[in-house]
Amino acid sequence: MTPRDLLPIAGFAAAAALLPLFVTAGTWLNFMIFTLIICLAAQGWNILGGFGGQYSFGHAAFFGTAAYGTAILQLRYGVNPYPAFAAGIAAAAAVGWIIGVLAFRSGLRGSYFALVTLAFAEVFRVLANSAEVTGGAAGLLIKLDVRPENFQFESRANFYWIALALVTGALVLTRWLERSRLGAQLVAVRENESAARALGVDALSVKLSAITLSGAVTGAAGGLYAQYFLYLDANIAYGTWISVEALLAPIIGGAGTVFGPVLGGIILHSLAEFTKTLVGRIPGVDLVIFGALLILVVRFPPRDIPGLLKRWRR
Protein backbone atom coordinates (compact mmCIF):
# COMPACT_ATOMS: atom_id res chain seq x y z
CA MET A 1 0.00 0.00 0.00
CA THR A 2 1.48 3.33 -1.06
CA PRO A 3 0.40 6.84 0.00
CA ARG A 4 -1.15 7.20 -3.46
CA ASP A 5 -3.42 4.22 -2.72
CA LEU A 6 -4.74 6.04 0.31
CA LEU A 7 -5.26 9.42 -1.31
CA PRO A 8 -8.85 8.87 -2.56
CA ILE A 9 -9.80 7.48 0.86
CA ALA A 10 -8.32 10.51 2.61
CA GLY A 11 -10.16 12.78 0.18
CA PHE A 12 -13.47 11.06 0.82
CA ALA A 13 -13.01 11.11 4.59
CA ALA A 14 -12.06 14.79 4.65
CA ALA A 15 -15.00 15.84 2.48
CA ALA A 16 -17.47 13.72 4.44
CA ALA A 17 -16.10 14.99 7.76
CA LEU A 18 -16.98 18.54 6.78
CA LEU A 19 -20.64 17.74 6.10
CA PRO A 20 -21.97 18.24 9.66
CA LEU A 21 -20.67 21.82 9.51
CA PHE A 22 -23.24 22.52 6.77
CA VAL A 23 -25.93 19.99 7.52
CA THR A 24 -27.17 20.54 11.03
CA ALA A 25 -30.80 19.38 10.86
CA GLY A 26 -31.25 16.35 13.12
CA THR A 27 -33.22 14.35 10.56
CA TRP A 28 -30.47 14.76 7.97
CA LEU A 29 -27.73 13.80 10.38
CA ASN A 30 -29.83 10.84 11.38
CA PHE A 31 -30.13 9.83 7.74
CA MET A 32 -26.40 10.23 7.18
CA ILE A 33 -25.47 8.19 10.25
CA PHE A 34 -27.84 5.41 9.29
CA THR A 35 -26.42 5.41 5.75
CA LEU A 36 -22.88 5.12 7.13
CA ILE A 37 -23.92 2.16 9.29
CA ILE A 38 -25.32 0.43 6.21
CA CYS A 39 -22.17 1.28 4.25
CA LEU A 40 -20.08 -0.35 6.98
CA ALA A 41 -22.22 -3.50 6.95
CA ALA A 42 -21.88 -3.57 3.17
CA GLN A 43 -18.11 -3.15 3.35
CA GLY A 44 -18.03 -6.29 5.46
CA TRP A 45 -20.11 -8.20 2.90
CA ASN A 46 -17.84 -6.94 0.11
CA ILE A 47 -14.75 -8.59 1.60
CA LEU A 48 -16.27 -12.06 1.39
CA GLY A 49 -18.77 -11.57 -1.44
CA GLY A 50 -17.05 -9.00 -3.62
CA PHE A 51 -13.43 -10.12 -3.33
CA GLY A 52 -14.05 -13.77 -2.46
CA GLY A 53 -17.09 -14.42 -4.65
CA GLN A 54 -18.83 -16.20 -1.74
CA TYR A 55 -22.28 -14.64 -1.73
CA SER A 56 -23.79 -14.61 1.74
CA PHE A 57 -27.48 -13.98 2.28
CA GLY A 58 -27.04 -14.02 6.03
CA HIS A 59 -24.76 -11.19 7.07
CA ALA A 60 -27.40 -10.37 9.69
CA ALA A 61 -25.73 -13.17 11.68
CA PHE A 62 -22.68 -10.93 12.17
CA PHE A 63 -24.55 -7.64 12.48
CA GLY A 64 -26.86 -9.05 15.12
CA THR A 65 -24.20 -10.90 17.09
CA ALA A 66 -22.12 -7.75 17.55
CA ALA A 67 -25.21 -5.65 18.25
CA TYR A 68 -26.41 -8.02 20.98
CA GLY A 69 -22.86 -8.47 22.25
CA THR A 70 -22.42 -4.72 22.68
CA ALA A 71 -25.81 -4.34 24.38
CA ILE A 72 -25.77 -7.43 26.59
CA LEU A 73 -22.26 -6.86 27.98
CA GLN A 74 -23.33 -3.38 29.10
CA LEU A 75 -26.74 -4.30 30.41
CA ARG A 76 -26.09 -7.62 32.06
CA TYR A 77 -22.42 -7.36 32.99
CA GLY A 78 -21.89 -3.63 33.41
CA VAL A 79 -19.02 -3.53 30.91
CA ASN A 80 -18.10 -0.11 29.54
CA PRO A 81 -19.59 0.32 26.01
CA TYR A 82 -16.23 0.71 24.24
CA PRO A 83 -14.80 -2.66 25.30
CA ALA A 84 -18.30 -4.10 24.90
CA PHE A 85 -18.30 -2.84 21.31
CA ALA A 86 -14.86 -4.39 20.70
CA ALA A 87 -16.00 -7.68 22.23
CA GLY A 88 -19.14 -7.59 20.05
CA ILE A 89 -16.94 -7.27 16.96
CA ALA A 90 -14.77 -10.15 18.15
CA ALA A 91 -17.88 -12.28 18.68
CA ALA A 92 -19.09 -11.50 15.16
CA ALA A 93 -15.68 -12.45 13.76
CA ALA A 94 -15.84 -15.72 15.71
CA VAL A 95 -19.30 -16.46 14.32
CA GLY A 96 -17.88 -15.78 10.85
CA TRP A 97 -15.07 -18.22 11.41
CA ILE A 98 -17.43 -20.92 12.73
CA ILE A 99 -19.89 -20.55 9.84
CA GLY A 100 -16.89 -20.62 7.51
CA VAL A 101 -15.51 -23.83 8.99
CA LEU A 102 -18.90 -25.53 8.76
CA ALA A 103 -19.74 -24.32 5.26
CA PHE A 104 -16.37 -24.25 3.48
CA ARG A 105 -15.00 -27.45 5.07
CA SER A 106 -17.90 -29.33 3.55
CA GLY A 107 -17.23 -27.64 0.22
CA LEU A 108 -20.40 -25.54 0.02
CA ARG A 109 -20.37 -22.97 -2.77
CA GLY A 110 -22.68 -20.71 -4.72
CA SER A 111 -26.35 -20.92 -3.85
CA TYR A 112 -25.74 -23.66 -1.26
CA PHE A 113 -23.44 -21.36 0.65
CA ALA A 114 -25.97 -18.52 0.34
CA LEU A 115 -28.74 -20.71 1.73
CA VAL A 116 -26.65 -21.93 4.65
CA THR A 117 -25.77 -18.38 5.68
CA LEU A 118 -29.42 -17.40 5.42
CA ALA A 119 -30.34 -20.37 7.60
CA PHE A 120 -27.79 -19.36 10.26
CA ALA A 121 -29.14 -15.83 10.43
CA GLU A 122 -32.71 -17.11 10.70
CA VAL A 123 -31.84 -19.56 13.47
CA PHE A 124 -30.14 -16.74 15.39
CA ARG A 125 -33.20 -14.55 14.86
CA VAL A 126 -35.58 -17.18 16.21
CA LEU A 127 -33.31 -17.89 19.18
CA ALA A 128 -32.85 -14.20 20.00
CA ASN A 129 -36.57 -13.74 19.79
CA SER A 130 -37.18 -16.23 22.56
CA ALA A 131 -34.04 -16.29 24.71
CA GLU A 132 -34.04 -14.46 27.99
CA VAL A 133 -30.56 -12.94 27.69
CA THR A 134 -31.61 -11.07 24.52
CA GLY A 135 -34.79 -9.76 26.12
CA GLY A 136 -36.94 -12.05 24.00
CA ALA A 137 -39.52 -10.45 21.74
CA ALA A 138 -39.53 -7.28 23.84
CA GLY A 139 -35.92 -6.59 22.90
CA LEU A 140 -33.22 -4.70 24.77
CA LEU A 141 -33.10 -1.07 25.73
CA ILE A 142 -29.66 0.38 26.48
CA LYS A 143 -29.90 2.79 29.39
CA LEU A 144 -29.74 6.43 28.31
CA ASP A 145 -26.65 7.94 29.93
CA VAL A 146 -25.25 10.62 27.67
CA ARG A 147 -21.53 10.87 28.33
CA PRO A 148 -18.72 10.56 25.77
CA GLU A 149 -16.91 8.01 27.96
CA ASN A 150 -20.15 6.03 27.80
CA PHE A 151 -20.24 6.02 23.93
CA GLN A 152 -23.30 8.33 23.98
CA PHE A 153 -23.16 11.90 22.75
CA GLU A 154 -25.10 15.10 23.18
CA SER A 155 -24.54 16.04 19.56
CA ARG A 156 -25.38 13.71 16.68
CA ALA A 157 -22.40 15.09 14.78
CA ASN A 158 -20.03 13.31 17.17
CA PHE A 159 -21.67 10.03 16.39
CA TYR A 160 -21.50 10.81 12.69
CA TRP A 161 -17.74 11.32 12.94
CA ILE A 162 -17.30 8.04 14.78
CA ALA A 163 -19.30 6.20 12.12
CA LEU A 164 -17.28 7.95 9.43
CA ALA A 165 -14.03 6.96 11.15
CA LEU A 166 -15.14 3.32 11.13
CA VAL A 167 -16.18 3.47 7.46
CA THR A 168 -12.82 5.08 6.66
CA GLY A 169 -11.05 2.35 8.61
CA ALA A 170 -12.92 -0.26 6.59
CA LEU A 171 -11.92 1.53 3.37
CA VAL A 172 -8.27 1.38 4.41
CA LEU A 173 -8.66 -2.28 5.36
CA THR A 174 -10.22 -3.04 1.98
CA ARG A 175 -7.47 -1.17 0.15
CA TRP A 176 -4.88 -3.10 2.12
CA LEU A 177 -6.69 -6.34 1.18
CA GLU A 178 -6.73 -5.36 -2.49
CA ARG A 179 -2.96 -4.87 -2.43
CA SER A 180 -2.07 -7.85 -0.24
CA ARG A 181 -1.25 -11.47 -0.93
CA LEU A 182 -4.41 -12.52 0.90
CA GLY A 183 -6.46 -10.29 -1.41
CA ALA A 184 -4.81 -11.64 -4.56
CA GLN A 185 -5.40 -15.21 -3.40
CA LEU A 186 -8.99 -14.43 -2.46
CA VAL A 187 -9.72 -12.98 -5.89
CA ALA A 188 -8.00 -15.99 -7.47
CA VAL A 189 -10.31 -18.32 -5.52
CA ARG A 190 -13.29 -16.28 -6.71
CA GLU A 191 -12.21 -16.48 -10.33
CA ASN A 192 -11.16 -20.15 -10.41
CA GLU A 193 -10.68 -22.21 -7.29
CA SER A 194 -8.91 -25.19 -8.91
CA ALA A 195 -6.46 -22.95 -10.71
CA ALA A 196 -5.78 -21.11 -7.45
CA ARG A 197 -5.10 -24.35 -5.58
CA ALA A 198 -2.71 -25.46 -8.31
CA LEU A 199 -0.73 -22.26 -7.68
CA GLY A 200 -0.34 -22.99 -3.99
CA VAL A 201 -3.36 -21.15 -2.66
CA ASP A 202 -4.85 -22.80 0.43
CA ALA A 203 -8.42 -22.05 -0.61
CA LEU A 204 -9.99 -23.09 2.68
CA SER A 205 -7.75 -20.94 4.84
CA VAL A 206 -8.10 -17.97 2.49
CA LYS A 207 -11.90 -18.21 2.61
CA LEU A 208 -11.82 -18.57 6.39
CA SER A 209 -9.72 -15.43 6.75
CA ALA A 210 -12.15 -13.60 4.47
CA ILE A 211 -15.32 -14.62 6.30
CA THR A 212 -13.72 -13.77 9.67
CA LEU A 213 -12.71 -10.29 8.51
CA SER A 214 -16.06 -9.88 6.82
CA GLY A 215 -17.90 -10.82 10.02
CA ALA A 216 -15.85 -8.36 12.05
CA VAL A 217 -16.56 -5.41 9.76
CA THR A 218 -20.29 -6.09 9.44
CA GLY A 219 -20.26 -6.70 13.19
CA ALA A 220 -18.85 -3.22 13.73
CA ALA A 221 -21.92 -1.88 11.92
CA GLY A 222 -24.18 -3.86 14.25
CA GLY A 223 -22.45 -2.65 17.40
CA LEU A 224 -22.64 0.90 16.15
CA TYR A 225 -26.33 0.48 15.42
CA ALA A 226 -27.01 -0.71 18.95
CA GLN A 227 -25.05 2.14 20.45
CA TYR A 228 -26.74 4.78 18.28
CA PHE A 229 -30.36 3.71 18.49
CA LEU A 230 -30.00 2.22 22.00
CA TYR A 231 -32.67 -0.33 21.16
CA LEU A 232 -32.54 -3.82 19.63
CA ASP A 233 -34.88 -6.66 18.95
CA ALA A 234 -34.41 -9.88 17.02
CA ASN A 235 -36.02 -8.57 13.85
CA ILE A 236 -33.70 -5.58 13.78
CA ALA A 237 -30.49 -7.34 14.81
CA TYR A 238 -30.88 -10.60 12.91
CA GLY A 239 -33.51 -9.46 10.38
CA THR A 240 -33.30 -10.17 6.67
CA TRP A 241 -33.38 -6.44 5.97
CA ILE A 242 -29.73 -6.02 6.95
CA SER A 243 -28.61 -9.15 5.07
CA VAL A 244 -30.30 -7.76 1.96
CA GLU A 245 -28.92 -4.23 2.29
CA ALA A 246 -25.42 -5.50 3.06
CA LEU A 247 -25.37 -7.39 -0.22
CA LEU A 248 -27.34 -4.97 -2.39
CA ALA A 249 -25.16 -1.94 -1.70
CA PRO A 250 -21.90 -3.51 -2.94
CA ILE A 251 -23.59 -5.15 -5.90
CA ILE A 252 -25.08 -1.83 -6.96
CA GLY A 253 -21.96 0.20 -6.24
CA GLY A 254 -19.43 -2.33 -7.54
CA ALA A 255 -18.66 -5.61 -5.77
CA GLY A 256 -14.98 -6.30 -5.26
CA THR A 257 -14.00 -2.64 -5.43
CA VAL A 258 -12.87 -0.47 -2.53
CA PHE A 259 -15.51 2.24 -2.84
CA GLY A 260 -18.35 0.10 -4.24
CA PRO A 261 -20.18 -0.58 -0.96
CA VAL A 262 -20.03 3.06 0.12
CA LEU A 263 -21.21 4.30 -3.26
CA GLY A 264 -23.97 1.70 -3.35
CA GLY A 265 -25.01 2.41 0.23
CA ILE A 266 -25.37 6.11 -0.51
CA ILE A 267 -27.30 5.50 -3.74
CA LEU A 268 -29.56 2.97 -2.05
CA HIS A 269 -30.45 5.15 0.90
CA SER A 270 -30.79 8.36 -1.04
CA LEU A 271 -33.25 6.62 -3.35
CA ALA A 272 -35.17 5.11 -0.45
CA GLU A 273 -35.38 8.47 1.30
CA PHE A 274 -36.35 10.24 -1.91
CA THR A 275 -39.21 7.84 -2.64
CA LYS A 276 -40.40 8.12 0.93
CA THR A 277 -40.77 11.88 0.61
CA LEU A 278 -42.31 11.44 -2.83
CA VAL A 279 -44.92 8.75 -2.21
CA GLY A 280 -45.12 8.76 1.57
CA ARG A 281 -44.49 5.89 3.91
CA ILE A 282 -46.01 2.99 2.02
CA PRO A 283 -44.64 -0.12 3.72
CA GLY A 284 -42.22 -2.00 1.48
CA VAL A 285 -41.90 0.68 -1.18
CA ASP A 286 -38.14 0.90 -0.59
CA LEU A 287 -37.86 -2.84 -1.20
CA VAL A 288 -39.62 -2.38 -4.55
CA ILE A 289 -37.11 0.32 -5.46
CA PHE A 290 -34.19 -1.84 -4.31
CA GLY A 291 -35.52 -4.75 -6.36
CA ALA A 292 -35.91 -2.65 -9.49
CA LEU A 293 -32.42 -1.24 -9.00
CA LEU A 294 -30.95 -4.71 -8.56
CA ILE A 295 -32.55 -5.91 -11.79
CA LEU A 296 -31.14 -2.89 -13.62
CA VAL A 297 -27.65 -3.41 -12.24
CA VAL A 298 -27.64 -7.10 -13.06
CA ARG A 299 -28.96 -6.44 -16.55
CA PHE A 300 -26.64 -3.49 -17.21
CA PRO A 301 -23.47 -3.90 -15.10
CA PRO A 302 -22.05 -0.44 -14.32
CA ARG A 303 -18.73 -1.33 -15.94
CA ASP A 304 -20.62 -1.73 -19.25
CA ILE A 305 -22.17 1.73 -19.08
CA PRO A 306 -19.53 3.52 -21.18
CA GLY A 307 -20.07 0.94 -23.92
CA LEU A 308 -23.86 1.27 -23.71
CA LEU A 309 -23.66 5.04 -24.04
CA LYS A 310 -21.45 4.71 -27.10
CA ARG A 311 -23.93 2.37 -28.73
CA TRP A 312 -26.76 4.71 -27.88
CA ARG A 313 -25.13 7.72 -29.47
CA ARG A 314 -24.63 5.93 -32.76
Binding site: R179, R181, A184, A188, A196, R197, A198, L199, V201
Partner: protein
Protein backbone atom coordinates in the same frame (compact mmCIF):
# COMPACT_ATOMS: atom_id res chain seq x y z
CA UNK B 1 18.76 -44.49 -16.78
CA UNK B 2 21.88 -42.79 -15.52
CA UNK B 3 20.28 -39.96 -13.58
CA UNK B 4 18.66 -40.34 -10.18
CA UNK B 5 14.90 -40.86 -10.16
CA UNK B 6 13.11 -37.66 -9.24
CA UNK B 7 9.45 -38.50 -9.66
CA UNK B 8 8.34 -42.09 -9.48
CA UNK B 9 4.82 -43.24 -10.23
CA UNK B 10 4.39 -46.71 -8.72
CA UNK B 11 1.56 -49.03 -9.70
CA UNK B 12 -1.04 -46.27 -9.91
CA UNK B 13 -4.61 -47.17 -10.84
CA UNK B 14 -7.62 -44.91 -10.94
CA UNK B 15 -11.19 -46.07 -11.21
CA UNK B 16 -14.09 -43.74 -12.08
CA UNK B 17 -17.18 -45.82 -11.39
CA UNK B 18 -17.00 -48.66 -13.88
CA UNK B 19 -14.16 -47.15 -15.88
CA UNK B 20 -10.54 -47.98 -15.14
CA UNK B 21 -8.94 -44.76 -16.40
CA UNK B 22 -5.42 -45.65 -15.23
CA UNK B 23 -4.35 -49.23 -14.75
CA UNK B 24 -1.24 -50.15 -12.77
CA UNK B 25 0.89 -47.44 -14.35
CA UNK B 26 4.53 -47.14 -13.27
CA UNK B 27 7.17 -44.83 -14.67
CA UNK B 28 10.05 -42.62 -13.62
CA UNK B 29 11.12 -39.10 -14.37
CA UNK B 30 14.81 -38.27 -14.06
CA UNK B 31 15.92 -35.07 -12.38
CA UNK B 32 16.74 -32.31 -14.86
CA UNK B 33 15.09 -34.11 -17.76
CA UNK B 34 12.34 -33.24 -20.15
CA UNK B 35 10.23 -36.37 -20.13
CA UNK B 36 7.26 -36.98 -22.41
CA UNK B 37 3.98 -38.72 -21.63
CA UNK B 38 2.18 -39.54 -24.84
CA UNK B 39 -0.73 -41.71 -25.86
CA UNK B 40 -4.07 -41.64 -27.64
CA UNK B 41 -6.98 -39.56 -26.38
CA UNK B 42 -8.64 -41.01 -23.31
CA UNK B 43 -5.54 -43.00 -22.37
CA UNK B 44 -5.52 -41.57 -18.86
CA UNK B 45 -2.68 -39.04 -19.17
CA UNK B 46 -4.55 -36.10 -17.65
CA UNK B 47 -5.85 -38.36 -14.88
CA UNK B 48 -2.24 -39.30 -14.04
CA UNK B 49 -1.35 -35.60 -13.80
CA UNK B 50 -4.36 -34.99 -11.57
CA UNK B 51 -3.12 -37.75 -9.26
CA UNK B 52 0.50 -36.56 -9.24
CA UNK B 53 -0.56 -32.98 -8.50
CA UNK B 54 -2.93 -33.91 -5.67
CA UNK B 55 -6.24 -33.16 -7.37
CA UNK B 56 -7.27 -36.82 -7.43
CA UNK B 57 -6.53 -39.75 -5.12
CA UNK B 58 -5.32 -42.92 -6.84
CA UNK B 59 -7.47 -46.00 -6.27
CA UNK B 60 -4.24 -47.91 -5.70
CA UNK B 61 -0.54 -47.14 -6.01
CA UNK B 62 1.75 -44.34 -4.85
CA UNK B 63 3.55 -41.31 -6.13
CA UNK B 64 7.07 -40.76 -4.79
CA UNK B 65 8.78 -37.45 -5.28
CA UNK B 66 12.36 -36.82 -4.15
CA UNK B 67 12.12 -39.89 -1.96
CA UNK B 68 8.90 -38.81 -0.25
CA UNK B 69 5.49 -40.39 -0.61
CA UNK B 70 3.28 -37.53 -1.79
CA UNK B 71 0.19 -39.59 -2.57
CA UNK B 72 -2.90 -37.65 -1.57
CA UNK B 73 -1.04 -34.50 -0.47
CA UNK B 74 -3.32 -31.58 -1.38
CA UNK B 75 -2.49 -29.47 -4.47
CA UNK B 76 -1.59 -26.28 -2.64
CA UNK B 77 0.89 -28.12 -0.42
CA UNK B 78 2.49 -29.75 -3.47
CA UNK B 79 2.76 -26.35 -5.14
CA UNK B 80 4.47 -25.03 -2.02
CA UNK B 81 6.83 -28.00 -2.15
CA UNK B 82 7.70 -27.09 -5.75
CA UNK B 83 5.43 -29.23 -7.91
CA UNK B 84 3.42 -27.17 -10.40
CA UNK B 85 1.03 -28.18 -13.17
CA UNK B 86 -0.82 -26.62 -16.06
CA UNK B 87 -4.31 -27.63 -17.12
CA UNK B 88 -5.11 -29.11 -20.53
CA UNK B 89 -8.28 -27.01 -20.54
CA UNK B 90 -6.71 -23.68 -19.66
CA UNK B 91 -7.88 -22.22 -16.36
CA UNK B 92 -7.29 -18.48 -16.47
CA UNK B 93 -8.53 -16.08 -13.82
CA UNK B 94 -10.80 -14.65 -16.47
CA UNK B 95 -11.60 -11.31 -14.87
CA UNK B 96 -7.95 -10.47 -14.17
CA UNK B 97 -5.22 -9.02 -16.33
CA UNK B 98 -2.38 -11.21 -17.57
CA UNK B 99 -0.05 -9.56 -15.04
CA UNK B 100 -2.41 -10.33 -12.16
CA UNK B 101 -2.92 -13.89 -13.38
CA UNK B 102 0.80 -14.58 -13.26
CA UNK B 103 1.21 -12.67 -9.99
CA UNK B 104 -1.10 -15.15 -8.21
CA UNK B 105 1.58 -17.77 -8.88
CA UNK B 106 4.37 -15.41 -7.87
CA UNK B 107 2.68 -14.56 -4.54
CA UNK B 108 3.41 -18.13 -3.44
CA UNK B 109 7.04 -17.26 -2.71
CA UNK B 110 6.81 -13.47 -2.46
CA UNK B 111 4.63 -11.93 0.19
CA UNK B 112 5.03 -8.31 -0.96
CA UNK B 113 2.96 -7.21 -3.91
CA UNK B 114 5.80 -5.27 -5.56
CA UNK B 115 8.00 -8.38 -5.52
CA UNK B 116 5.25 -10.64 -6.84
CA UNK B 117 4.50 -8.23 -9.69
CA UNK B 118 8.19 -7.95 -10.55
CA UNK B 119 8.52 -11.75 -10.68
CA UNK B 120 5.34 -11.95 -12.79
CA UNK B 121 6.78 -9.50 -15.29
CA UNK B 122 10.07 -11.40 -15.52
CA UNK B 123 8.21 -14.66 -16.11
CA UNK B 124 6.03 -12.98 -18.73
CA UNK B 125 9.16 -11.97 -20.57
CA UNK B 126 10.50 -15.55 -20.52
CA UNK B 127 7.32 -16.91 -22.14
CA UNK B 128 6.84 -13.99 -24.53
CA UNK B 129 3.88 -12.26 -22.89
CA UNK B 130 5.47 -8.90 -22.14
CA UNK B 131 3.25 -7.09 -24.63
CA UNK B 132 0.04 -8.57 -23.21
CA UNK B 133 0.54 -7.82 -19.51
CA UNK B 134 -2.31 -5.34 -19.20
CA UNK B 135 -4.85 -7.26 -21.27
CA UNK B 136 -7.61 -9.24 -19.58
CA UNK B 137 -6.67 -12.92 -19.73
CA UNK B 138 -10.02 -13.68 -21.34
CA UNK B 139 -9.16 -11.45 -24.30
CA UNK B 140 -6.15 -13.50 -25.45
CA UNK B 141 -5.93 -15.95 -28.36
CA UNK B 142 -5.59 -19.68 -27.69
CA UNK B 143 -1.82 -19.40 -27.99
CA UNK B 144 -1.79 -16.47 -25.58
CA UNK B 145 -3.89 -18.29 -23.03
CA UNK B 146 -1.60 -21.32 -23.21
CA UNK B 147 1.33 -19.04 -22.47
CA UNK B 148 -0.51 -17.56 -19.48
CA UNK B 149 -1.17 -21.08 -18.22
CA UNK B 150 2.54 -21.83 -18.51
CA UNK B 151 3.56 -18.52 -16.95
CA UNK B 152 1.29 -18.93 -13.91
CA UNK B 153 2.84 -22.31 -13.11
CA UNK B 154 6.35 -21.04 -13.75
CA UNK B 155 5.79 -18.07 -11.43
CA UNK B 156 5.48 -20.47 -8.48
CA UNK B 157 9.19 -21.24 -9.06
CA UNK B 158 8.69 -25.01 -9.29
CA UNK B 159 11.27 -27.79 -9.26
CA UNK B 160 9.00 -30.09 -11.23
CA UNK B 161 6.62 -28.80 -13.88
CA UNK B 162 3.80 -30.92 -15.32
CA UNK B 163 2.68 -29.54 -18.69
CA UNK B 164 -0.62 -30.87 -20.05
CA UNK B 165 -0.78 -30.27 -23.82
CA UNK B 166 0.50 -26.71 -23.75
CA UNK B 167 1.07 -26.93 -27.51
CA UNK B 168 -2.36 -28.27 -28.49
CA UNK B 169 -4.30 -25.89 -30.66
CA UNK B 170 -1.23 -23.89 -31.66
CA UNK B 171 -0.20 -23.48 -35.28
CA UNK B 172 3.24 -24.75 -36.39
CA UNK B 173 4.90 -21.37 -36.08
CA UNK B 174 3.51 -20.90 -32.57
CA UNK B 175 4.79 -24.36 -31.68
CA UNK B 176 8.23 -23.40 -32.99
CA UNK B 177 8.12 -20.32 -30.72
CA UNK B 178 7.27 -22.27 -27.56
CA UNK B 179 9.70 -25.20 -27.97
CA UNK B 180 12.78 -23.12 -27.06
CA UNK B 181 10.84 -21.64 -24.13
CA UNK B 182 10.28 -25.12 -22.66
CA UNK B 183 13.92 -26.00 -23.22
CA UNK B 184 15.01 -22.81 -21.48
CA UNK B 185 12.80 -23.68 -18.51
CA UNK B 186 14.58 -27.00 -18.15
CA UNK B 187 17.98 -25.37 -18.60
CA UNK B 188 16.98 -23.08 -15.74
CA UNK B 189 16.89 -26.13 -13.46
CA UNK B 190 13.26 -27.23 -13.67
CA UNK B 191 12.46 -30.86 -14.40
CA UNK B 192 9.68 -31.08 -16.98
CA UNK B 193 7.12 -33.82 -17.54
CA UNK B 194 4.98 -33.04 -20.55
CA UNK B 195 1.87 -34.55 -22.05
CA UNK B 196 2.02 -33.77 -25.73
CA UNK B 197 0.42 -34.78 -29.01
CA UNK B 198 2.58 -32.58 -31.22
CA UNK B 199 5.20 -35.18 -32.14
CA UNK B 200 7.53 -32.63 -33.71
CA UNK B 201 7.90 -31.07 -30.25
CA UNK B 202 8.18 -34.42 -28.45
CA UNK B 203 10.98 -35.58 -30.78
CA UNK B 204 12.68 -32.22 -30.37
CA UNK B 205 12.46 -31.82 -26.62
CA UNK B 206 12.13 -35.10 -24.78
CA UNK B 207 15.00 -37.37 -23.77
CA UNK B 208 12.64 -40.06 -22.53
CA UNK B 209 9.06 -40.79 -23.49
CA UNK B 210 6.47 -42.97 -21.74
CA UNK B 211 3.53 -44.18 -23.78
CA UNK B 212 0.17 -44.67 -22.11
CA UNK B 213 -2.67 -46.51 -23.84
CA UNK B 214 -5.95 -47.52 -22.18
CA UNK B 215 -4.52 -46.66 -18.80
CA UNK B 216 -1.38 -48.81 -19.15
CA UNK B 217 2.22 -47.86 -19.84
CA UNK B 218 2.97 -49.81 -23.02
CA UNK B 219 6.41 -48.45 -23.88
CA UNK B 220 9.20 -46.31 -22.47
CA UNK B 221 12.41 -45.11 -24.09
CA UNK B 222 13.87 -42.50 -26.36
CA UNK B 223 11.38 -40.76 -28.68
CA UNK B 224 12.86 -42.54 -31.71
CA UNK B 225 12.65 -45.98 -30.17
CA UNK B 226 9.06 -45.63 -28.97
CA UNK B 227 7.65 -44.34 -32.27
CA UNK B 228 9.15 -47.38 -33.97
CA UNK B 229 7.68 -49.74 -31.36
CA UNK B 230 4.96 -51.90 -32.95
CA UNK B 231 2.89 -51.82 -29.73
CA UNK B 232 2.86 -48.02 -29.87
CA UNK B 233 1.91 -47.90 -33.53
CA UNK B 234 -0.97 -50.31 -32.86
CA UNK B 235 -2.15 -48.24 -29.91
CA UNK B 236 -2.41 -45.17 -32.10
CA UNK B 237 -3.54 -46.68 -35.39
CA UNK B 238 -5.44 -49.79 -34.38
CA UNK B 239 -4.83 -53.53 -34.24
CA UNK B 240 -2.66 -54.86 -37.06
CA UNK B 241 -1.46 -51.41 -38.07
CA UNK B 242 2.20 -52.13 -37.36
CA UNK B 243 2.12 -55.12 -39.66
CA UNK B 244 0.33 -53.22 -42.41
CA UNK B 245 2.81 -50.35 -42.13
CA UNK B 246 5.86 -52.58 -42.30
CA UNK B 247 4.24 -54.50 -45.15
CA UNK B 248 3.73 -51.25 -47.03
CA UNK B 249 7.34 -50.26 -46.41
CA UNK B 250 8.62 -53.58 -47.77
CA UNK B 251 6.43 -53.53 -50.86
Amino acid sequence: MSRVSFLSVQGVSKRFGGLLAVSDASFEVAEGSITGLIGPNGAGKTTLFAIASGFEQPTTGRVIWRGEDITGRPPHRLAQDGLARTFQIVQPFAGLSVRENIAVGAFLRHRRRADAIAVAERVAERVGLSAELDKPAAALTVAGRKRVELAKALATEPKLLLLDEVLAGLNPSEVRDIVPVVRAIRDGGVTVLMIEHVMQAVMNLCETVHVLAQGRIIASGTPHSVVADPAVIEAYLGHGAAKRLSGAAHA
